[in-house]
Symmetry: C2
Subunit: 241 residues, 2 copies
DNA sequence: CGTTCGGTTTGACCGAAATCAATGACGTCG
DNA sequence: CGACGTCATTGATTTCGGTCAAACCGAACG
């Protein structure tokens, strides 16, 4: 091992937690080495901002670990969260001039960042990567459009029920591999009440009230502020319309 | 019948109204010929459905002329429009199993349709096309996310003002090339009141009431049901928050 | 052990938009 | 032309979620 600087980075992608799920999944070893050369790991603490809305789009990134939010400010200063990203998700705006949303770590996180211009060039030269990125973007567009239905047509209870079900589905497989007995789930919510409100287009009070209501109706349990148990995923999903 | 819909091929793309704006823009003549071979023109009447939500994703298409809506039904039977597409826009779900939304022509329209499997293969073999598609999808995702702010955080008046401004901006350059005197615009609305409600996550009554209010406030004129004049685009945009 | 502080819950009240209902305008077709 | 059907407007009322305000709770700290 003649160079501690280069060698470790070469193995880096191969050891990456999201190696097989992120956009790099289809690359061969050579390509991975090239990609690795232009990227670097970055650790973020909960609350730390990675990108600011409206800034020049200088970087893009892959999420390796943790949860981050994409959000934008309204003219009157409120926030609308545009998306929550999880490990293996891609973020930032390739082929674009400006970053269309702010990115902030919600939990401690690790991301693999690239200078946008480097990434753009690499993508154009490697159609397999670009294809992966396209598939991911199409899937993200589908998800975003489904979220429009939530924002446009659901009432507060439906929004909340839908959010809790989706969160459970995105979080449980990672935390606990074996399928739980029956329909029950228990998890730690990644978002505060205020953040949930910002995702759902509600206020914190409305979120709180309906959480209590769902609890009183016996659909969920709230052993702690961030703790959630779902008594019946199916019943909860039904509340989501 | 079918022979009337399939028009003679080779020169077709070159004469296409959206040749330089759609995803085919970067293709050379040979590629265009190949693409042309797998696509065909289809005319749609206003109200005609091109794709049904949940169906197998058999076709994708480019909009050549007219306006179409992408929409989905909520569990209780109401509709949420997910997007409005205009000439040169792409629609359908490449690389996907099922169509995630219904597509219906709002005006008479012409589209250039491809069997999805043909299109997918062609795209994978022609990175320039795939790149165009990626750029378009990224732009569409940005637009969709901005719409989330409208749905999640704006009141009825802001939604309506924002929608009218955006419609004017997307429609005017096409209809009338020279820039209008100052700030005034006049156009024919592509959507009915009900459709506007479905785009904005409102009811028809609320749309109607706020249209009247904007008129009474002197921001717009309504010479007919589908006719709109904007007295000051700037003032109207300010109402949009 | 009490204090403090941020996040959360709960309550009282209000207002914007939905709902229910009636009327009005317009195009079309006999 | 007149009758009908569709779409749009207007009005009355209700309801859901927002706003303002107060109480609450748990963690961190002196």
């Amino acid at each position: 091992m003649d160079s501690l600087e280069i060698e470790p980075s070469l193995n880096f992608c191969q050891a990456c937690a999201v190696r097989n799920r992120a956009i790099c999944a289809d690359l061969d070893e050579d390509e991975l080495g090239l990609l690795n050369a232009i990227g670097r790991r970055k650790r973020l603490q909960a609350g730390e901002q990675l990108l600011w809305e409206g800034d020049d789009a200088i970087i893009v990134a892959n999420v390796v670990e943790g949860v981050l939010k994409l959000s934008t400010q309204t003219a009157d200063g409120r926030e609308q969260i545009l998306g929550i990203v999880y490990p293996s998700d891609f973020l930032g705006r390739p082929f674009g001039e400006t970053t269309p949303y702010g990115v902030e770590a919600i939990t401690d996180a690790q991301v693999c960042v690239f200078r946008r211009t480097d990434f753009d060039r690499f993508a154009r030269e490697h159609p397999r990567l670009e294809h992966k990125l396209l598939e991911r973007t199409l899937a993200e567009l589908d998800r975003t459009r489904r979220w429009m239905v939530l924002l446009g047509r659901m009432n507060a209870e439906q929004k909340l029920a839908t959010y809790l079900v989706e969160t459970a589905e995105r979080l449980i497989p990672a935390n606990c591999k074996e399928s739980e007995l029956g329909d029950e789930r228990s998890l730690t919510l990644p978002l505060s009440r205020q953040q949930m409100a910002d995702v759902l287009g509600l206020t914190i009070e409305t979120v709180s009230r309906h959480m209590t209501k769902l609890k009183n109706d016996g659909l969920i349990g709230l052993p702690g502020r961030r703790e959630l148990t779902i008594n019946s995923l199916k019943a909860l999903a039904e509340r989501g319309g």
